[in-house]
Structure formats: structure tokens, C-alpha cells
Symmetry: C2
């Protein structure tokens, strides 16, 4: 290969490595950083444990990819990427608590409440949610106020009762109950889909685009959000805990309705591929040119092994 070649070939791994270097650096520097603004007692340590050194960072990558597609403000994109990851991280901490999923393993490590106690885990989750909105509202002039307000609005909706928290409430109510395909779909549209879609739309809100492009990105976000969950359900059955970094087989053990339990394994795999195709078709419809990363993320997300 000619190293002087000016047109680089897009590879997701190289692109992701660059994005994640920035995201990890920002998270390390900003999350309750002991040298910047020390958090009281063990709280800062618990917050950092919950966020740093782990996770696929899928949501930050979606933010960065969507922002890239609209040539967005890099400061706003990085802050949004970190903010969605904080919301995701807090939801995992609370989800793992004994009164919810009672899980002891996450990202290959003991869960936050196992390591720091339930009360500290509860507080760390609460503080991470607040921190997400702090990240979105810097007062250093790097992100204009209208963009800050819009990003806060999108994140708050995606996290709240009409989004992630609402989906978890449906999840809670559905254990041991048969769900129809439509109900399962609705649960996941809220529980994981809302924040994944918001990641795409917040990235898009870091720049400007036509309303047709935004609609197309919204469709893309809905499709990858759902595909993510279908694949999650598949992996819960087919992968082991060491590969997943979390307890495998727990949906079946808890008698939770999943796409696999409803459709079967093969049909679930086909459904995931169908959603990927749909997501990538939406990218074409967007009329945006620089959608390589979004396209590749849809591939990665559906074909991932953990």
C-alpha cells in the first residue's frame, strides 16, 4: 500500500481508537477527578470505578460518528459522548443493585455495590446522572447556549420516564409474564433504544443538517437501538460470562421475555441483520456524505461477539 496515498481507507478500528482515546481522556479527567474537584469520601472512587476502564463505549462512538456526519462542534460532541456514557454507566450501577437485577459481575469486575456497598452505589449512580448534565453545560464558551439547552433536553427525555427509566419499569413489570412482540419491542425501544437513538441525535445536534437528514438519522438510531438489543438477547444465550464480562444466561434464569425466547435464535439473527440493512438504508436516505463511521458501527453492532 502506498503510504503517501492521501485518501485514507476508512477502518472502524482505527477510527474508533482515535475517538475513544479522546473520550477516555475526557472521562478520566472529568469524572470526579481527585486532583480537580475531589469528591467526598469514597463517592468519587465509586463513580470512577463505574465509568472508567471498561465498556464498549458504543454510545460515545455513535455520538462522535453522527457529529462527524454533520461536521459538528468537536467540543459539544465530546461532551455529549461522555454525557451519554455517564447516563449509561449510572443505569448499569442501579440496574445491578440487589433490588433490581442483583448482579455481581459487570465488565469482568465486581459490580459497584459489591465493591463499595449498596448505599455508595446508589449515590454514585445519582451523582453520575447529575454529572452528565454538568458535562453538557460548560461555562467556558466552547459550546453555545442554544446547543447546550438542546442537548440537555434530548438527554433528559431519553433518560427519563419516556425513555430509559420508563423501559426499565416495563422490564420490571414483565418478569415472568408473556409479552407480545409489540410489547417487547416497546420495552426495548425505551429501555436501551432511547439512549442509543439519543446518542445519534445528540451527535447530529452538534452540527447542522436538513430536517430530512435528521429524520433519516432518527430512523437509523431506532434501527441500531433495536438491533443492539436483539443481539444482546442472542449473546445472552450463545456467549459465556467470560466473553460477555457479565453474567450470561441471566434472562432465561430470571424468566425474562427476550427476542430469542419469542422468535427463536435463528429468526432473531435474521431480524438483527434486517435491522442493520434498514439502518444503513436510512443513512443513504440522509443525503449526508460522511457516514462511514455510522455505517460501520451498524455492522459492528450486529456482528459483535460481546
Amino acid at each position: 500500500m502506498n503510504v503517501r496515498e492521501k485518501l485514507p481507507i476508512f477502518t472502524l478500528s482505527a477510527w474508533s481508537a482515535l475517538q475513544l482515546a479522546a473520550v477516555e481522556q475526557a472521562l478520566t479527567g472529568w469524572v470526579a477527578c481527585p486532583t480537580v474537584a475531589p469528591a467526598p469520601a469514597d463517592l468519587g472512587e465509586a463513580m470512577r470505578y463505574a465509568v472508567l476502564d471498561g465498556g464498549k463505549r458504543l454510545r460515545p462512538l455513535l455520538v462522535m460518528a453522527a457529529s462527524e456526519a454533520v461536521n459538528g462542534n468537536a467540543h459539544a460532541a465530546l461532551r455529549s459522548a461522555c454525557a451519554v456514557e455517564l447516563i449509561h454507566a449510572y443505569s448499569l450501577v442501579h440496574d445491578d443493585l440487589p433490588c433490581m437485577d442483583n448482579d455481581v459481575l459487570r465488565r469482568g469486575k465486581p459490580t459497584v455495590h459489591v465493591k463499595f456497598g449498596q448505599a455508595q452505589a446508589l449515590l454514585a449512580g445519582d451523582a453520575l446522572q447529575a454529572l452528565a448534565f454538568e458535562f453538557l453545560t460548560p461555562d467556558d464558551g466552547s459550546v453555545d447556549a442554544a446547543m447546550q439547552a438542546r442537548l440537555c433536553r434530548m438527554l433528559a427525555r431519553a433518560a427519563g420516564f419516556q425513555g430509559m427509566a420508563g423501559g426499565q419499569a416495563i422490564d420490571l413489570a414483565s418478569v415472568g409474564r408473556p409479552l407480545t412482540f409489540a410489547q417487547l419491542h416497546e420495552m426495548h425501544r425505551l429501555k436501551t433504544g432511547a439512549l442509543l437513538q439519543a446518542s445519534v441525535m445528540m451527535g447530529a445536534a452538534c452540527g447542522s443538517s436538513s430536517s430530512a437528514a435528521r429524520d433519516a438519522l432518527r430512523d437509523y438510531g431506532a434501527a441500531v437501538g433495536l438491533a443492539f438489543q436483539v443481539v444482546d438477547d442472542i449473546l445472552d444465550v450463545t456467549a459465556d460470562s467470560a466473553t460477555l464480562g457479565k453474567t450470561a444466561g441471566k434472562d432465561a434464569a430470571q424468566d425474562k421475555p427476550t427476542f430469542v425466547s419469542l422468535l427463536g435464535l435463528q429468526a432473531s439473527r435474521e431480524y438483527a441483520q434486517q435491522l442493520r440493512v434498514q439502518a444503513q438504508a436510512s443513512l443513504k436516505d440522509s443525503g449526508l456524505e460522511n457516514t462511514h463511521a455510522l455505517h460501520a458501527l451498524a455492522d459492528m453492532l450486529v456482528n459483535r461477539a460481546h
Copy 2:
């Protein structure tokens, strides 16, 4: 609403009744309102149970009073008033959970987790925090974007690890340990003081004022925030559960350091009065004219019986 134009003599009770009518109406209409945007399963019911029909609404009153002092945007003030109350309400729900204070009585009713279960209480608290930021970021043009961003920034800081959550972490670490006066002060500055002060400052941010006025209001907020906690500690010893609407005597039962355990009852009462005087002196320093409500709230807060 400026009540003074209609009433010859300012009375806190008349003023509060008017403010609270607006706040209660807004909360009733906005918090997971079943007819507007139904929340899944019991989540909406748990959220409404946590917020509606109870509470002194001290924080909303501070917001409205401070906004009145700077002739603030009424829409922004009402939304801010509701947002700080949502943060307060969520913190109570989480605080009452078995892994924290394990309390069964709040505002004279069973706590949220007693009524809805721990998992639902956890989710309701999480969703209320998100909803606070949703309230602050309407897209109806009623509050300009710069103000929205500023209000989100203030609330996020006051709620997070450098504010309320941080104070609760100190509280958690301090049970059964002797604290110095300075440490107790710092714990309460964060745990309850940060959100009370933010209520004042968010109200002030709904309008415009000189930086000297804002500094004076910040001092007022710090003094009333601390006074509130001193009085809380006094009432925990002197009032009964029926009057308080929550379990009395629990600080001593849990061997928690309080102003009363550190200073004694009489000195605590004097300290509360001293903070009131200090708060009211700051109002004079502010140079603002319409501070009747803020002045009266400092009186009420220190002389309250529950």
C-alpha cells in the same frame, strides 16, 4: 406574580399560597401526567406519589422569592421551582431506601418503596432527576436558551458530587464517627445547603441583577441553607413524628452527628437565629428592593415547628 401590587401589607402566608397554587398546578400537570404522557407500568404513579400532595415546598418558594426580587421570567421561575422540588423529592425517595436510611414514613405517608417496592422507588427517583432537567429545557420559546443552559448548569452542580450527592456521601461515612464542627458544617453545606442555595441562585438567574446583588443572594442562600439544617436537627429532638410527618429522633437513634449533639440544644437555637440575622443582613446588602418574601422565608424557616 407580584403579590405586593395587590396586597397593601406583605404576608408570607398569602404570598406563599399564591406561589404554591401555581407550583402545585404545574407539578400536577407535568409530573408523569397520565393524560399527557403516560409513564409505563407503575412508574408514573410512583413518581407522582413521591412529588404530589406533600412537602413544605420550601425550595420552590425560595426560587419564586428570588426571582421576584430580580423581576425574573415567570415561566423560567416556575419551571425552576418545580425542577428543584423534583431533585429534592428524588433525593428523599432514594434516601428512604433500606440501603440508606431505611425509613418507612415520609410526609405522614408510607415511603415510596414501602408502597411501590424498592425497584420501582429506585427507578422513580432516577426518572424524577431526569425530569428536573426536562422541566428546565422546554422547547416552546418561553425561556431563552442561555437561561435554560445556565439553570441546568446550576442544578446539575447542586445535585451532584460537589453538592447534594457529595454531602450524602459524607453523611454515609460519618455515622457513628465524631465530626468536628467544621466537618459537620461542610457535610450540610453540601447535603442540604447546596440545593437550597441553588434554589435562591436559580431564582436570581431567571432575571438580571448586579454581580454584587448575586453575591449577596449567594450569602443569603448559604445562611438559610445552613439554618434550615440546624433547625432540622433541633426538631429531630424536640418534635414528635406526627408533627414532623417523618420519623422523629432518628438521628440520635442512628448515632448521627448533628448540630444539637455537637453544640447542645440552646446553643443550636441561638446559632439558627444568628444565621437568620446574617441572611437578612445579606438581603440588605443586595441593594435589591423587592426582598420581602426572601426576608419572611428566613423568618419562617428558622421559626418553623416542622
